[in-house]
Structure formats: C-alpha cells, structure tokens
Symmetry: C3
Subunit: 113 residues, 3 copies
C-alpha cells in the first residue's frame, strides 16, 4: 500500500457566472493550475447556494439560483499550493478560498509516460 | 495577498428527498444559513451514494440511486458555525454532519454595498 | 445536541471512465464501501477537471472534459477508513486519494430498524 504524503487541499468557491479576462473564472483557474503543473483540479457545480453578495437579496429566493455555485478542489504539496495562491488571489474578486492539510495518496497510470 | 482567517467548514450529507416542514431539507438548511447571516452555503448533488439507512437494503443496487445524495458546504468562523450547529441538529433526522477547521480567505466584490 | 465523534474523511478523485472489473470504478468503490459496512458514501461528478495524466496533454483544452472528474466522499471512524484503504489502493490505478480527520455527527432515522 502506498505511503501518503503530507499535502494541502485548496478549495475555491465562486459563482458560475464570474469572469476572468473574458472566460469563466473557474475555467481560467483550472487552466492556470495546469500551467502551474499542479497535480490536478476538480470542478463541481451545485444546484443551489449563496455567497459573498447574497445578504442584500435575502427576500428574493430565486436570487439563490441565478448564479450557481462552483467549487474547485486542488490537491498538491504545500509548496505547490502556496506558489499557486497568489494567482488565485489575483483572479478571485468575490468568493471564498479555503486551505487545509490532508494526507495524500497519488496514483498515476503506468500507461502515462 | 489576503491574510487567512481561522474558520470552520461544516459539511452536511443528506438525501435529496428528505423534507423539513414541507420543503426539501437541503433548501431549508441553506435558507436558515442565510437567515443566520452565515458567509455562504454551497449545495452539491451527486449521482450516486448511500447513507444512514442503506445497510438494510444491501441486495438492492437500485436503492442506491433512489434518494440522491446532497452535500452542503458552509464555511464561516468557528463562532458562527457553532451557533448554527443546533439548528442543523434539529433539522437533520438522517444523515451525517462533519466539522473541520480550515484556513479561510474571503473575497467580496466592491460592487456590493 | 449530539456529541461529535472523531472520524476520518476519505476522499477519492478518479475519472468517470475508469473501470474496475468491467464496471465503473467509482461504482465499484461505492459498492465495496457498502459491503464493508462503511457509514456512507457520496459520489459527486464535476463538469471539468484534470488529473494524473493531464500534463502530457497541456495543449489540448478539450482533453480536459473528455474524462469527467468524480469525487467520492466516505466518512467513518479512523478504524473503518484504515481498514478500507487497502481496497481502495488496490482498485485505483490513476487518481488521488486524500484522508483528513473531521468531527462527525451521525444521524439515523428512528424508522430504520
């Protein structure tokens, strides 16, 4: 059985409609993560949520689903996550970012060169 | 770059079909979280899962997908999460709730009053 | 209010198209988790991601969505998770597994025998 490494889970909560330089913000973050050679990124989209700017719309229930929530999970070493955080900080105007330490087991197909 | 705050991630695993006072439980939890002025809530819906009551149905594979799993992520300060937990405890009859500490970076649009 | 137990969150990131003995890997993992009497498993499917084998395809954006990401969350006691890890280790050829400790509140319907 594999030996785990100590790593970080970076989780980014943004709205699906948020943009970065003309493209969806979540897509821009995933592409940046790949450019930075992070181990992986996973985008999840939720059917409901509220976030940074929701308090001013408390009476409008429909407001909740206008901008569907996106969660991006990125797991890598502490060093790689720390190096990536300033990029995320620059790109996210509205949202929430969490970082926590996790034990990581990495698997890579032997078919991959 | 922003300074992180110490916060809590509250994660609630329930079934999509669970109800609370005539509405979907997950929706009721999100609305309650907003009433309590929590920083945000994100609902994710999964295509497969099993939970609290699945052991008695181990032979019926289809049972797995009858009640699709819902995950609700709520991130805020320890104080806000601790104050919200009794509400969640009251509303969830069947499911799983986890709490863990995370470092939190919050972003709020300057367009928001 | 319930007393939390100390538990583990096992999170498994794999591709939707990965197979195990002729069935989807994520499905095989969920069924194995149920056979092992774990408390629950939740599958989430994302609209975008990249993982273990993506670095060799950095120029092909479309590659990102060919094999959609799957996240499986499994929460249980440290003992149950530790006992399940070798199974997961055997089944996952390509992907990422994380383990972290969480406080767990379990709810079970009184209607369940």
């Amino acid at each position: 059985m594999k030996i785990p490494e100590q790593g970080y889970l970076l989780r980014i909560y943004v709205g699906e409609s948020s943009q970065w330089q003309g493209k969806p913000l979540y897509e821009a973050i995933v592409l940046r993560a790949r450019e930075m050679h992070l181990a992986g990124a996973t985008v999840l989209r939720g059917p409901m949520g509220f976030g940074a700017n929701s308090r001013v719309h408390t009476a409008k229930i429909l407001r909740l689903s206008e901008d569907l929530p996106i969660v991006i999970d990125i797991v890598d070493s502490r060093e790689k996550i720390d190096a990536f955080l300033p990029d995320v900080d620059e790109m996210v105007m509205e949202g929430l970012i969490t970082v926590e330490s996790v034990r990581v087991f990495k698997y890579r197909s032997s078919k991959t060169p």
